[in-house]
């Protein structure tokens, strides 16, 4: 991580050459919600990353059986440790290991960073519209953390759909970021609960909600949508129906595994 700092905050990690598998050591676990934890890893040979990229994680059982999954990087490029935020799926194969079994001091095999399409760079001066469904917030959080680190003041809006209040990942940190007065507004939508005193939306994303949250098309915002496939496609189609240029919308679909594949 020190190396990335030396290279400077605008350095773009190499995108040529095969990626090798490397090891991270779990340094800290932060429980975000009952089902979601963030894993903070020390990765000695980490070359740096861009906000929005992911890593592939590979687990090996003692009989040689391997399982691989992709997880978005939650930490910003300049953060000291590599963070992955993982939702534990009851019928998952990898997530119950990462959230539940993996202990501080254990090594985790990973490769990355991966992705050149679904990335946000701090120099981007377009308004930023982020739409997240559940754990789809992870790569978007990396973008917001990066935005804060580089002290960008481009107008930014996050529309974040979660099941219940208790399921809202990064809730406190998002409150702080949204109160920083640097042009970020956070909107929440809950789909399965209407808590007393809740000031956010209490329904699934629809056209009326997007009309209130999204900028007029003339502002030409950069749009990033991430979450389960049906969520991403519904949100994307709504924006296109509102007149947004499809090319301005970038999407990343998570499978039922909570990550990509």
């Amino acid at each position: 991580m020190a190396r990335a700092a030396v290279l400077g905050r605008l350095e773009i990690p190499t995108s040529r050459g095969p990626l090798r598998w490397q090891f991270g050591t779990l340094a800290e676990v932060v429980r975000e919600t009952p089902r979601v934890s963030s894993l903070y890893l020390d990765v000695p040979d980490w070359q740096g990353h861009l906000a929005g990229q992911h890593v592939d994680v590979r687990l090996t059982a003692d009989d040689g059986y391997q399982a691989e999954r992709s997880y978005s990087i939650a930490s910003a490029p300049d953060d000291p440790r590599l963070a992955l935020t993982v939702e534990r799926l009851d019928d998952g194969e990898v997530s119950p290991y990462l959230v539940g079994e993996l202990r501080v001091g254990d090594r985790l095999e990973l490769r990355g960073p991966i992705g050149g399409f679904f990335v946000w760079r701090g120099e981007d001066d377009r308004p930023l519209l982020l739409i997240a469904g559940g754990s789809g917030v992870v790569p978007l959080m990396a973008m917001l953390r990066h935005r804060a680190n580089v002290e960008s003041t481009v107008p930014a809006r996050l529309l974040f759909s979660s099941r219940t209040q208790a399921d809202v990942i990064y809730r406190d940190e998002l409150s702080r970021l949204g109160a920083a007065g640097d042009g970020l507004t956070v909107f929440h939508a809950l789909t399965r609960e209407k808590p007393a005193g809740w000031s956010g939306y209490t329904r699934r994303i629809d056209e009326a909600m997007l009309k209130e949250v999204a900028w007029p098309i003339q502002e030409s915002p950069a749009v990033f949508i991430c979450g389960p496939t049906p969520f991403v496609e519904a949100a994307s189609q709504l924006l296109v129906a509102m007149g947004y240029e499809p090319r301005s919308i970038k999407t990343e679909r998570f499978g039922a595994t909570g990550g990509t594949a």
Partner: protein, 103 residues
């Protein structure tokens, strides 16, 4: 079988398959293994309908005997990737042209 239960089953199945469908971001690692360069921002032209899209926008089916990549517009097969027994088999006949940057 009556058409109502059939339609209901069809909707449920569509949801399951929809959930199983990802996009080109999901094969970023696999493509980097094969091309030795970051590919999700590479731009491909569909050999069937001519649609031009970044790899990050294409439809990807990963729960299959191999990886199947389809055009988001016409749904024809852009690429098939099979990996096994120490080898890769890559069919790119559905991609007329692939553009990606040097840097």
């Amino acid at each position: 079988m009556n058409s109502e239960s059939h339609n209901h089953a069809r909707l449920a199945a569509t949801t399951q398959v929809e959930e199983a469908r990802l996009d080109g971001n999901a094969i970023g690692g696999l493509l980097r293994e094969i091309f030795a360069v970051e590919m999700t921002a590479a731009v491909g032209t569909c050999a069937f309908c001519g649609a031009v899209n970044e790899v990050g926008r294409v439809q990807v089916y990963v729960r299959a005997p191999g990886t199947v990549v389809r055009c988001p517009e016409c749904e024809q097969v852009l690429m098939k990737i099979v990996r096994g027994g120490g080898r890769y088999w890559v069919d790119m006949t559905g991609v007329r042209c692939l553009e990606f940057s040097e840097a």
